[in-house]
């Protein structure tokens, strides 16, 4: 039995709670002693330089990477034992676009847990799928195979799937990178709607302006937690310098950050370890 988001608001501990989380890959700590709390329905932008561990953080949150130390709790319960539904929208590079699957089938995957692994989708499931596709403007693409779509369309398919999942927590990895402006707008509209539904959202982005303008909370990460709070609290000279180092040029009141090649975090881990 699924618990709807609104039934829980205000009655439970923080939705997402990390305590001294350490994630290591090949013996190197990618996330080091990260602790923070995300309340219900909050929308958090996760920013940081390449190799800061943004993708790693998300993968740890869905239980895809084992924790070396620490704890992740959702509604006060350890990962895997909570009832909340977590949806994750991967970076586009991580999806096998040659897989023989249509848009509709991908979105329907979001409902698999509702009608079970052997059952047939109910009328409500079909309706949820149609609604999600309509919301993201991809109804006409329903029968196309995902490999034939443009980058922006592909992203909308995965957004539609996440909506169909009716998640309590939504994690989006770099949804604003490499997509057209109308897909960015569709993504931002979706965020507004999710806010009204009380869905907790974490979005990683390279776009610091976007983070400052559209998110009430910002989490600045560089393998450890540099800062977490409002944009005034986070985007200070010290924090930016700590996170971006020489990539950031700080003039009187202006910060310029040089970002290269988003999306290839793992390639950058080693170069950053030998400054």
């Amino acid at each position: 039995m699924k618990i709807r988001a609104h039934e829980l608001i205000g009655t439970e501990p923080a939705r997402l709670d990390l305590e001294n989380v350490v994630v290591a890959f090949n013996g190197h700590a990618i996330l080091d002693n990260v602790s923070f709390e995300v309340p219900h329905g909050a929308q958090v932008a996760v920013v940081g330089p390449n190799g800061a561990g943004k993708t790693t953080l998300f993968k740890a949150l869905v239980g895809l990477l084992p924790l070396r130390r620490g704890q992740i709790r959702i509604h006060g319960l350890p990962l895997g034992q909570h009832k909340d539904c977590v949806a994750y929208i991967p970076q586009r590079e991580e999806v096998d676009w040659r897989f023989p699957v249509t848009v509709e089938e991908v979105v329907m995957m979001g409902r698999f847990n509702d009608f079970g692994w052997l059952g047939k989708p109910s009328p409500q499931d079909r309706e949820a799928v149609l609604r999600s596709m309509a919301q993201l403007g991809i109804t006409k693409l329903a029968r196309r195979s995902i490999g034939e779509l443009s980058g922006g369309q592909q992203q909308r398919v995965f957004l539609a799937r996440a909506v169909a999942q009716e998640p309590h927590i939504l994690l989006m990895d770099e949804p604003f990178t490499g997509v057209d402006v109308s897909t960015q707008e569709a993504t931002l509209d979706l965020l507004d709607e999710l806010r009204s539904r009380g869905v907790t959202v974490m979005v990683s982005t390279h776009d610091l302006n976007m983070a400052a303008e559209r998110f009430e909370r910002i989490l600045l990460l560089k393998r450890r937690l540099i800062a977490y709070g409002t944009r005034e609290q986070v985007f200070t000279r010290e924090h930016i310098a700590a996170a971006f180092g020489k990539q950031a040029l700080i003039l009187d009141n202006i910060v310029v950050v040089d970002h290269c090649c988003p999306g290839d975090e793992h390639d950058h881990i080693h170069t950053e370890e030998t400054p």
Binding site: V62, W117, G147
Partner: protein
């Protein structure tokens, strides 16, 4: 039409035909995942890795297929074990275990003198030597594997397409991955008598790769792959009867002919279609 019926008057041909059809079906369905998950190398490796199991079963006087089955499952799970957590890359683990098992198999076999004939049957297959007991085993494996693939269609679908999604849906991702390896091992063991370990990889990969060129959805891909696998087995066996060539080779060559036709003439993904499309632009 007598030429169609004539070979089937022999009991060994009847058994061979049933075995070939079952194996064509089984390999083609499981092969869909082999193609989509880029496990062709793994399939080939598993096929060779069953050799020590066969040799030990022979030495102990047990059933050769049971020995093969145990060896294949051990190697499949061994690969899953070594690659867990990304310590060793999968193709590396496969390379190591596959060569080690093959070396062990050859070492054991070199100690047996009278083994040469049986060995060639294992490597190239001997569909006409399928006995009633073998047929029951092949039929049992086919039912078991196909039933698992159908019952777990959606979990395998999600795990193959998007493992991260599978994790967020709280599917047992590791268990499903290992189960798929076990299904692959069972399929290979069921196939060694018809096509042999040298050619089983072709039966796993070729029908699936052909079907991939003809459809854009998983379920139809499986159905087309199955139809092609069965057709290749039947046509191949008739060719083998009338041209007097090894049955396993004939089956694989027919499957390859299907693939070449699809590669050149398939709508949209085919070579000719793409050529025409480029010119029209």
């Amino acid at each position: 039409m007598t030429w169609l019926v004539e070979p089937l008057q022999y009991a060994f041909m009847q058994r061979g035909m049933i075995a070939a059809v079952l194996v064509g079906l089984l390999c083609a369905v499981v092969g869909t995942y082999v193609v989509l998950r880029s496990m062709a190398f793994l399939g080939d490796a598993l096929a060779h890795a069953i050799l020590p199991g066969v040799a030990i079963a022979y030495l102990l006087g047990g059933n050769l297929l049971v020995g093969a089955l145990i060896a294949a499952i051990l190697v499949a799970l061994g690969i899953g074990f070594f690659t867990r957590g990304g310590t060793v890359r999968e193709d590396t683990a496969i390379g190591i275990l596959f060569s080690a098992a093959l070396a062990l198999g050859v070492a054991l076999i070199s100690s047996i003198r009278s083994y040469a004939v049986d060995l060639s049957h294992i490597i190239f297959g001997n569909v006409l030597g399928v006995g009633p007991a073998d047929l029951w085993l092949i039929a049992g494996l086919t039912v078991l594997v196909l039933a698992t693939v159908f019952l777990l269609f959606r979990p395998f679908f999600v795990v193959s397409f998007d493992p991260v999604m599978a994790k967020t849906l709280r599917l047992p991702v590791e268990l499903l991955r290992n189960l798929l390896l076990v299904l692959l091992a069972l399929t290979i063991v069921g196939s060694i008598q018809t096509v042999g370990i040298g050619l089983v990889a072709a039966m796993l990969v070729t029908p699936g790769a052909t079907a991939y060129l003809l459809t854009r959805r998983l379920a139809p891909m499986m159905a087309i792959s199955a139809a092609l696998g069965v057709a290749a087995s039947v046509i191949g066996l008739y060719l083998s009867y009338y041209l007097n060539i090894v049955s396993g080779s004939a089956i694989v060559l027919v499957a390859t002919a299907f693939f070449l036709m699809a590669f050149f003439f398939a709508p949209q993904k085919g070579w000719v279609w793409q050529r025409l499309h480029v010119q029209r632009r």
